[in-house]
């Protein structure tokens, strides 16, 4: 680094003091500046020592956050692969309170678009911070209009999955619904929450001071796993038919509500499960009343239980084909009570078939008495009453079947005609399915399979069935029940071209204060079709019909319409033609 043209150097000493300045001061000042600069460098080095880890930690905490990545929720399909529950991407809107200078003005602009009171928006904004939800999963139109407000700093959008149910109200109470965080809150959504939800992932998100994500800054620690799809036994068309006919019946009789269940007698697969009034899971009404699933709620069944009592008696040999009893129209029973026939008529000599065909109360009560409390209770229990069926839906009632030790002397008579006991429509269907399939009590099932994201299909549960009736007794009982439709109380349940067996039920509603409520009935019909090769067990229960209240009048026609259309949908061929029905006025 040789300098080319240095000024001529003066002699070693005695150089002219041209400057006339205290040279040391300049040197010391310069040295002072250099020391100050060096101090800064040293300070920077010092700030890198572990002593200042808290600063780095503070930086990380404000810049980085761990976010949960929810895996796409599994979809729900019916047995034909129709999508009953799916997902769409919707924008959720949040505010960045730190960026909002004028909360009132902000609220006036944003509130109306979101359907929020401006005061509510102000209240949220005043909480401060960088993030506060304003509305979740808003419609694309609303999101678009919000984006045009020019509030880039103040508003943020986060795409989220929203659950949608393409068929609207169809099977609402069965499917249930999800909350804003896509968590299952009712129905299948709740029951299969674990499988549907999948495994959430985790990511590190780098955000700016306003809480907005920095584009480059997301680092996935754990990939979310999609939830499993659910394949149901439910058939949308059968479900639709069941709902339509049930709604029609409920409306026609101005009833409080109703339930209908259709089950495959061989497997326990639930083809339709309707509850009226239902709801649209896309916009769930407030209050739990509308969320009820009446197919899983217990009610006092009345005569439909006679079939079960008869089954127990046949199984025990208490009665046989030749058993006869005289019905004078009434029967005095212990406790000073009297069992009467519905129309007060005397049935005369009745056999076992007449217990179901004519729904003879006197005969049924005597059968119950002859069985006695212990055996009656044991069999009803065995037939699945008094305990949940184990169907894969939440909130199922066990029904009420008291322990015999609490029974009074009249209870065996009374239970035999379906009083002092409560069952669910699903329990009834399951019992008649056992009658139809040769004596096997199956476990009703709504979902049959789960499909993992890779496409692998897995059965939800193995078939589970218990023999509760001998094939002989089951067959005898089935033929007796066929008489109900052929020339008994349930002729309106007949289906053209198919043999139908069933049992009507008309029960006065018990009062919570004891006794029964005058004028309030539950009309029901539970049946099997076709008798020669049973496929479907169907129950129809109508709560408080007005104008008519017999099961054979109110519920049986709905059964008939549901059954005939379901058989057609399922492609069940007509069997041998049923004996010509002898039309009789419905009675119980």
């Amino acid at each position: 680094m040789k300098r080319a043209a240095l000024p001529p150097r003066g002699p070693r000493s005695g150089a002219p003091q041209v400057l006339a300045l205290p040279r040391w001061r300049l040197k010391w000042l310069a040295a002072g500046w250099l020391v100050a600069l060096a101090t800064v460098a040293a300070r920077v080095a010092y700030l890198q020592t572990p002593r200042f880890d808290h600063l780095r930690e503070l930086g990380r905490r404000q810049q980085v956050e761990t976010v949960t990545l929810s895996g796409s929720r599994g979809r729900i399909y019916d047995r034909a692969g129709r999508e009953l529950a799916s997902n769409v991407i919707r924008d959720s809107v949040y505010a960045v309170p730190r960026a909002i200078r004028d909360p009132e003005g902000f609220a006036r602009k944003v509130g109306p678009l979101l359907g929020l009171e401006p005061s509510a928006v102000v209240e949220r904004v005043r909480r401060g911070g960088y993030f506060v939800w304003l509305a979740r999963q808003v419609s694309p139109e609303v999101a678009g209009r919000l984006r045009q407000l020019g509030l880039e700093q103040e508003l943020g959008f986060e795409p989220e999955e929203k659950r949608v149910y393409p068929f609207g109200r169809l099977a609402g109470p069965v499917l249930g619904f999800t909350g804003v965080d896509n968590q299952g809150l009712a129905g299948l959504e709740l029951r299969y929450e674990q499988a549907l939800r999948g495994r959430p992932g985790r990511a590190i998100r780098v955000r700016d001071a306003f809480g907005r994500e920095i584009l480059e800054g997301r680092q996935v620690l754990l990939q979310p796993r999609r939830g499993q799809d659910l394949v149901l036994a439910l058939d949308s068309v059968v479900q639709h038919v069941a709902e339509r006919e049930l709604v029609r019946t409920v409306e026609h009789y101005r009833a409080q509500g109703g339930a209908a269940v259709a089950m495959d007698v061989r497997t326990g697969e639930v083809l339709a499960l309707a509850s009226v009034p239902g709801f649209d899971p896309n916009s769930v009404p407030d209050g739990t009343e509308a969320w009820r699933n009446r197919a899983l709620e217990a009610y006092e069944p009345g005569s439909t239980l006679k079939a079960a009592v008869l089954a127990a008696a046949l199984e025990e040999g208490v009665v046989d084909a030749g058993w006869k009893v005289t019905c004078p129209g009434w029967l005095r029973i212990p406790g000073g009570y009297t069992v009467r026939e519905a129309h007060g008529e005397a049935h005369g000599r009745v056999g076992i078939a007449d217990v179901v065909r004519l729904s003879c109360n006197v005969a049924a009560a005597r059968v119950g008495a002859e069985l006695g409390p212990a055996r009656l209770h044991r069999y009803l229990r065995q037939f699945g009453f008094g305990e949940p069926t184990g169907v894969d839906l939440p909130g199922e009632s066990a029904g009420i079947l008291r322990d015999p030790s609490q029974w009074s002397g009249s209870d065996p008579y009374v239970l035999a005609i379906g009083q002092g006991v409560a069952v669910t429509p699903l329990q009834l269907v399951r019992f008649v399915a056992a009658v139809a399939n040769g004596g096997w009590l199956v476990r009703p099932r709504v979902a049959v399979a789960m499909r993992d994201p890779e496409g692998g299909l897995r059965r939800v549960a193995a078939d589970e069935r218990v023999r509760v009736l001998s094939p002989r007794v089951a067959h005898t009982l089935l033929l007796a029940m066929e008489r109900t439709v052929a020339d008994g109380t349930g002729t309106a349940a007949a289906v053209q071209g198919y043999r139908v067996a069933g049992k009507t039920g008309t029960a006065q509603k018990p009062s919570p204060h004891g006794g029964y409520q005058p004028g309030r009935y539950v009309a029901s019909f539970v049946g099997v079709v076709p008798v020669d090769q049973p496929r479907l067990a169907i129950a129809v229960v109508v709560d408080e019909p007005q104008g008519a209240y017999y099961g054979g009048v109110v519920a049986a026609p709905a059964f008939s319409r549901i059954a005939s259309q379901a058989l057609w949908v399922l492609g069940v061929p007509p069997g041998e033609v049923a004996p010509q029905a002898v039309r009789r006025p419905g009675g119980d």
Binding site: P8, G10, R43
Partner: protein
């Protein structure tokens, strides 16, 4: 412009290459860091990530022109320009306070707009002050030992400017102006007990100035304990320290700063050093501080070797300006000094500062061409000069 012939024994040499290299090096660092620190805000506010870079580049170009010009103008020419410059500066400093002329930004009235160009009169005032004080004190090599005739008048000029600047308000620039005056007086030979005594007298006034304004009091308190109000007055310092501490040895990488995403206020202006430290780490800090060290050393070398008293005082004034402002800025960014907003010389975004400083650097470059011979005993100069240099026997 007629150039007065230099004294007989002085021949014109080449411009000090170290001086040029360190100035351009700092400017280069500045452009890169302005781009990095401002791109987020530029995109957010103007939809253009290089919005601030483009402006800074334009100013840099203008600054280069000024630097070339002043490096070719003989430094003694500023003796004649000093008085008009000071008058003009005072007028501008007064004018900027007038609403309608001065523009407000960040709560202070600091800018004068002329079309698309904004400039800060205080940056011109710093240059003028140095030029004028050097001129004033060069003529009064004996009066400087007198308090009334030598010490107080220069402090009076600086004080007048500082008072105007404080009205903006701009505490940092006021400190720099007074500091420059004190440094030039010190170099000119003012008696130490005069300077020390004045400092003792001025201390209560300075304390009052610092504590009377609530926002300044907050800043002092925040300096003593930033965590007292981490979301309020301590916010700047804490966010700056977070950035600096996050840098480590080599930084998080150029452009990779996270603190620049609106956590750190004044990212591309007063706190640009924090972003630099975060992105380039201790290594980058050492390079930048080293550039300042070289620049300051070469300016004072030029002062020490200046052929006349005026040149020496001029260079030492510019040296105090660059060094003082750099130390003040770096001290604030690293939490060593209370928060005062001064730009980092040659690096921070801001055209007035860059152009004024480059003009001053040009003056120093011109001066460096007329360097005298150095006595061998001059240890400092020997350190500051090239080791390969030939020494007198």
């Amino acid at each position: 412009m007629t150039r007065p012939s230099p004294p007989q024994e002085i021949r014109r040499g080449p411009v000090d290459g170290w001086l040029v290299a360190s100035v351009l090096g700092l400017c280069g660092v500045g452009l890169v860091m302005v781009y990095s620190a401002s791109s987020v805000a530029g995109f957010e506010r103007f939809g253009d990530a290089s919005y601030f870079l483009k402006r800074q580049l334009a100013w840099f170009t203008l600054g280069c022109g000024c630097m070339v010009l002043t490096s070719r103008v003989h430094y003694t020419a500023w003796r004649r320009l000093a008085a008009p410059l000071v008058v003009a500066s005072l007028l501008l400093l007064g004018a900027v306070l007038v609403p309608g002329i001065g523009d407000v930004a960040g709560g202070a009235r600091r800018w004068i707009s002329a079309g698309p160009v904004n400039f800060q009169p205080v940056e011109v005032a710093k240059f003028s002050l140095v030029a004028y004080l050097a001129h004033f004190l060069a003529n009064r090599r004996d009066q400087v030992r007198s308090l009334t005739r030598g010490v107080l008048p220069p402090l009076g000029f600086a004080g007048a400017m500082a008072v105007l600047v404080l009205r903006q308000p701009d505490m940092g620039s006021a400190v720099v102006l007074v500091g420059i005056a004190a440094a030039v007086l010190f170099c000119a030979g003012a008696r130490l007990h005069h300077l020390g005594g004045l400092a003792v007298v001025a201390a209560p006034a300075a304390a009052w100035a610092a504590l009377a304004e609530p926002y300044r009091r907050e800043r002092i308190l925040a300096f003593l304990d930033p965590w007292r109000d981490a979301q309020g007055s301590g916010f700047h310092v804490i966010q700056s320290l977070v950035a600096v501490a996050s840098g480590g040895l080599v930084g998080v990488g150029l452009g990779q700063s996270r603190q620049k995403f609106f956590y750190l206020p004044e990212r591309h202006t007063d706190f640009i050093f924090a972003i630099l430290a975060e992105e380039l780490g201790l290594a980058g800090v050492v390079v930048v501080v080293g550039l300042y060290a070289v620049l300051v050393a070469r300016i004072y070398r030029a002062a020490l070797r200046a052929p006349d008293r005026y040149g020496a005082l001029l260079a030492s004034g510019f040296g105090a300006w660059v060094a003082g402002q750099a130390v003040l800025n770096l001290g604030v960014a690293t939490g060593l000094l209370p928060v005062t907003g001064v730009p980092l010389p040659f690096v921070s975004f801001g055209g007035s500062s860059l152009v004024s400083l480059m003009a001053a650097a040009g003056v120093c470059m011109n001066l460096s061409q007329y360097a005298r011979a150095v006595r061998e005993a001059d240890v400092f100069s020997a350190w500051a000069s090239s080791p390969a240099r030939e020494r007198a026997p």
